[in-house]
Amino acid sequence: MKEEQEEYSIIIKDVYKSFNVYYDKANTIKEKILFLFSRNKKEKRTVLEGINAKIKRGEVVALIGTNGSGKSTLLKLLTKIIYPNKGTIETRGKLTSLLELGAGFHPDFSGRENIYFNASIFGLTKKEIDRRLDDIIEFSELGKFIDNPVRTYSSGMYMRLAFSVAINVDADILLIDEILSVGDEHFQNKCFEKMLELKGEGKTMVFVTHSMGAVERLCDRTIWLSNGKIKLDGKTKEVVPKYIAETR
């Protein structure tokens, strides 16, 4: 039994997540006391209801669903930015999220220095960053701009640098939210190639995307979320046509 468990990178067990939606948020003691007396200032919104999924090591999974179906929330739960109200999530191995690219970038520092800041947030040591530095710079195609302050970058350059760092962290599990909107077509294709390469290396990946073309090219398995529940979970070539048929 134990050995069987080892195969999985991600185990999601009966996860519930709801958010309190405040119309007017009380942050101070005074407001908190006052709010005790006023009624229905907050509302509970359930985003995920009883999600169960096991993702094997090396599996590439797409999360699809319409806006507000809970895809991004599930991804955030996986990265441990937020925690479930009920249920457990277990992840095995080093995990990197490409949710918010460029978190921790400091605009006044050079691209090179920001590689160090950003990569250290992903849990890399200086030595590990040194070793990857050339790869990161090369992948970003920033060339001589790497030593300019990040505030002088265009938004495309910024995203390219951020993406290059995240992709070179060498994680076992990658969580990716709509990455294929990074940079121009040339860079997007390059990202795609990199994804395929990482897939070949046996990385576990979870994608959130609305691009069915990308899903079909990259992912073996697709999980369709609808109103916070798993509607369908199976092979991509079976799930995607049904999804398209329903949403069209």
Partner: protein, 258 residues
């Protein structure tokens, strides 16, 4: 519990860059830079010396040295706590975006203030050397007192930084509480001037033991009260565990509260 240390070890680079950023960032945009680490406490000592020695006629010998041994450790204590109260809100943006062990933030604040304190210790040394007291052999106990203060601060900063995410008022309350603690610690006066029936107040204030420790080492140049310091270290370790448990419970909601 071991996983806590393992996690911190894995993220040691982030901890290191964060501490560096905090130390350098403090005086980044000021003309005199790190010099303020010296000037600030020095000017404060001048102010207190004028008020309490010249105006209020405090009879303490070498009053400037006396106050310096209390004020500099106090500044370390108070700025570490008040900055901890702001750290989560300040870093709200990044907390909402990526995962990293959240305890890195309060630990960086306390550690960077420790670095500042080490720099400021040069002022104490300057005072005792040029004030004619010299340095005693009891200076070997300085790291022990510092360890007690560091652990105490880590514990407090875990609690303060996590609670202030939920109750923003805490930032203001801390200002008042620190002011109260300042006068409830023997910083501007010596413990003997407190009437015996109120001495117990000092025994409740952990900073009183720490300041007495530093003062024994640098000012009185006698053996510091080792048993209290070791006791304080033991209590602080327990507080660190409790503080961490509170922190860990509260940190799960940070991204939603900020």
């Amino acid at each position: 519990m071991t996983s806590v240390f393992k996690n911190l070890y894995n993220y040691r680079e982030l901890l290191k860059t964060n501490i560096k950023k905090e130390v350098r960032g403090k005086y980044k945009n000021s003309f005199l830079g790190v010099l303020w680490s010296f000037l600030n406490p020095l000017l404060q000592i001048v102010v207190y010396a004028i008020v309490f020695q010249l105006i209020l006629k405090n009879p303490q010998e070498n009053y400037a040295i006396f106050i310096c041994c209390g004020l500099i450790p106090w500044t370390y204590f108070s700025s570490a706590i008040s900055r901890s109260a702001f750290t989560m809100v300040e870093n709200g943006n990044i907390l909402k975006k990526v995962y990293f062990p959240r305890e890195i933030l309060p630990i960086s604040i306390v550690t960077s203030e420790t670095v500042n304190f080490l720099i400021s210790t040069v002022i104490i040394l300057g005072f005792v050397i040029f004030g004619g007291l010299g340095i005693s052999k009891y200076i070997i106990f300085y790291p022990l007192v510092l360890l007690a203060q560091y652990l105490l601060l880590i514990a407090i900063s875990f609690i303060v930084s996590s609670i202030s995410v939920y109750i923003r008022d805490l930032q203001h309350l801390i200002g008042v509480a620190l002011q109260l603690l300042f006068y409830a610690a023997p910083i501007v006066y010596s413990p003997e001037v407190i009437p015996p029936e109120y001495q117990w107040i000092l025994t409740l204030n952990p900073m009183a033991y720490i300041i007495n420790g530093y003062r024994d080492i640098f000012y009185y140049q006698t053996m510091p009260d080792i048993t209290s310091i070791i006791g304080l270290i033991a209590i602080s370790i327990v507080l660190c565990v409790i503080g961490y448990m509170i922190f860990n419970k509260l940190q799960k909601g940070f991204a939603e509260e900020l």
